[in-house]
Amino acid sequence: MKSEKDIQTHIGQLMKDAEKPAFLSTSDDFEEALFARFDEIDNQNAPKTATIFTLSEVRKYAAVILILILNVSAILFYSTTSDSEQTTEDISEYSEEYFPDYATLTSLE
């Protein structure tokens, strides 16, 4: 059992320890570990891009698409032109068949 005086002396010492603790320093690998964490943060924040096609593939597919567009345009142009001629001929043919007096009627005007 400690005396009251001993207790007070011990508490006084403990107070000193609490008020002025030993100054600590970080471990040697502190900076290395910290900068590794910074790298991790930078990698997480970096914009994410995924390569679907390489540039040469993009060029190849673009050329194929262009050729397809040209072909389809040519076919459409041709079919539209021939369709309209066909339609005019058809109208004349049908009009003569179903409206034989159409020319007469129009000539009367």
């Binding site: 011990h10 508490i11 609490a18 502190f30 900076e31 910290l34 964490r37 910074f38 943060i41």
Partner: protein, 193 residues
């Protein structure tokens, strides 16, 4: 002006600037964290967290306070959060961890012949636990004022900036924290020794 330029470099994530910042403040920040946690490994982990937060949020730093004050505020806030987490842990688990840690320390000291007497070492550890438990019983503001006042070179004016309080209230807080700490120690002494 110099600090403005330095902050700008930090915002640009200039690694040389961060290296400079870390080298200057790692030990003071570690000591603040240790002042709360009283465990070196935990304090060092928390110091890493503080610098990581600085790295992540430096772009949001409004320069209302100095960089140094802002960093200390982060350290204090993180340390208090960590203490709250610890308090929420089951007391039994906390003591189990302590006993295991002490047993491991004792075992290590017994294997190394050139180390001090294990009983003496355990007594030193017990004193540290007593100091820590006594500090834990201080009110949050008193404890913060006490921990920050321990730091070499940290003036009352700087503590006032960090805690956003007046100079006179800091002087009073530090004084009261010492008085209360002594009273807490006197009240609990027989439970530890």
């Amino acid at each position: 002006m110099e600090e403005k330029k330095f902050i700008q470099r930090l915002r640009e994530k200039d690694r040389t600037a961060f290296q400079q910042l870390v080298r200057e403040y790692k030990d003071p920040i570690l000591n603040v964290c240790y002042g709360y946690l009283k465990d070196f490994d935990d304090a060092e982990d928390l110091t890493q967290e503080v610098f990581t937060e600085v790295y992540k949020t430096i772009s949001n730093f409004k320069e209302e306070a100095s960089l140094f004050t802002w960093m200390y505020r982060i350290a204090v806030s993180r340390s208090l959060d960590e203490l709250k987490k610890r308090r929420s842990l089951k007391r039994a688990a906390y003591f189990e961890k302590r006993v295991r840690s002490e047993a491991a320390d004792l075992e290590m000291s017994q294997t190394a012949s050139d180390l001090p007497d294990p009983e003496e070492e355990l007594y030193q550890k017990q004193q540290q636990i007593f100091i820590q438990d006594s500090l834990n019983q201080l009110a949050e503001t008193q404890r913060t004022a006490f921990v920050l006042s321990q730091q070499d070179g940290l003036s009352y004016k700087e503590i006032a900036d960090i805690m956003k309080k007046s100079l006179s209230s800091i002087e009073s807080l530090v004084h009261r924290s010492k008085q209360n700490l002594r009273k807490i120690m006197e009240d609990n002494y027989e439970n530890y020794f």
